[in-house]
């Protein structure tokens, strides 16, 4: 299924390059990459056409319409996910797709059965990926390993992912400390759903996220806080990609925070 999403994404990219009479840009693996990330957000039992349509939406609406890689105002896989979720909620629902399993997705359990029903989940097991969830997004530990490897190689600057996780943890932690019987613990929030995928792969995408240290940190904190807010107060059980899309909207604003040019004195305001 991941293969089909990737194939559809790459095919659309090739088509767009052809239409725009640009040299074929498949070799940079970008279309493959966003198709793969999108597939990781899908539930494992999703129908084949959902993967193909979603891959196409991801590339066409997410990137090609805005001018290709780097010009997209939104994180393309998150956009593809959001469109699919609004269009076909019954197929994007992990529990519906895997209805034969006896246990539910942890976040759905939290949403509909409350914190009291969470005793069946062990946080460590959740973190290691032993949970029902989207195809790739629920493998929290593996995603963290991948993210840390990217950071150690210097591909990924650590500000957005870390601020994102801190945002989730702090917002969920405040709620948890107010009333632990009503709100789930921050560890639970961090290890379920697509938080890790969003933190390390969706939010820091170079095009739609700000540059500069302070804007990056603010961006990550805001997105992370939005994740917890959507989960606690929103309609959807997991809103991590929605939170990333919302934060993407703030990027032009955050980019107005400029670094002080070298050699310029700090202005003293009275």
């Amino acid at each position: 299924m991941a293969g089909m999403a990737c194939a559809s994404a790459v095919a659309c990219e090739a088509l767009v390059c052809r239409i725009r009479r640009q040299p074929l840009s498949i070799e940079n693996w970008n279309a493959f990459y966003i198709g793969l990330i999108f597939a990781m957000l899908l539930p494992a039992g999703a129908p084949w056409w959902l993967a193909i349509a979603g891959g196409a939406v991801t590339v066409l609406l997410g990137q090609a319409l805005f001018g290709g890689l780097g010009s997209n105002p939104f994180s393309a896989p998150a956009l593809g996910w959001a469109v699919c979720l609004v269009c076909w909620p019954q197929f994007m629902d992990v529990d519906m797709a895997l209805a034969s399993l006896p246990i539910n997705e942890p976040l759905t359990q939290l949403k509909y059965f409350g914190v009291g029903s969470l005793w069946q989940f062990d946080t460590m097991q959740l973190f290691l990926g032993n949970q029902v969830g989207a195809a790739g997004a629920s493998q929290a530990a593996a995603l963290v390993l991948g993210g840390v490897w990217l950071m150690s190689r210097g591909v990924l600057r650590p500000f957005i992912p870390l601020a994102f996780l801190v945002g989730v943890a702090v917002t969920a932690g405040i709620h948890w400390s107010i009333d632990p019987t009503q709100y789930a613990s921050p560890w639970f929030h961090l290890s379920t759903g697509s938080v890790m995928l969003c933190a390390f792969f969706l939010a820091p995408e170079s095009g739609p996220s700000p540059c500069g240290r302070l804007p990056m940190i603010l961006f990550g904190l805001l997105a992370g806080a939005m994740v917890a807010v959507i989960r606690i107060y929103g309609v959807y059980p997991d809103g991590a990609p929605f939170a990333v899309l919302l934060a993407n909207l703030l990027t032009p604003l955050l980019d107005r925070i400029r670094p002080r040019p070298f050699g310029v004195l700090r202005r003293n305001h009275a």
Binding site: W49, L61, V83, V86, C87, W88, F91
Partner: protein
Amino acid sequence: MHRLWKEFSKGLWKELPPFRVLLGLCPTLAVTSSAENGLGMGLAVVFVLTLSNLIVSLLRKMIPPKVRIACFILIAASLVVTVELLMQAYVYPLYQTLGIFVPLIVVNCLILGRAEAFASKNPVLPSVADALGMGLGFTLSLTFLGGIRELLGNGTVFGVPMTWDSFQPLSIMVQAPGAFLALGLILAAMNAFSNWYSRRHEETPPRALEAITSCSSLGAEPMVVLNGDDANGNGNGANGR
């Protein structure tokens, strides 16, 4: 006759209200969740627009330039109330689906725009031709947009199923974001088509911007203005004399 045809036909493609000059976008985006809604809304606008242009054109010598906007709105409002009552009487289900957007025709830019830019400066017959052309273009655009959204979002056109059985509708298309998506894609397609067409016929490509300027400053263009004196008077009035 030729001139009448010209006034009529410019609303069909060159200054197509929602897609070329982007007037009347509120109903265009809000009520086109199905082809039937689009058609109903378009017909209501045709009615109001034609009668409003007719009356404004008849009264154009009497309306004082300083309060002309209020007068135009008054005329449009009376006509919209008429339409509203007619719809309540004869097509009540449609009236209920269109909801608040029927009364909102009063503040539709299209009505006011045509009254201000055309009907208040031109005789009756060209004004009516202009209104009919614009209204027809508006109706066709809304029906087309509604048809596309209904087809993708619901699998039907005018309530008739058009797709295969296992088709899973893209329900985002009948929701609010779908309106923006469809409108943007149609605009892009129209621009691409006119670029292709003019390149083929080796003319300069028409720009949406030019269509807008020609619409708003219609008085400055001698070829459309049939009554130059009025245009000057109104032009000064527009500057808040």
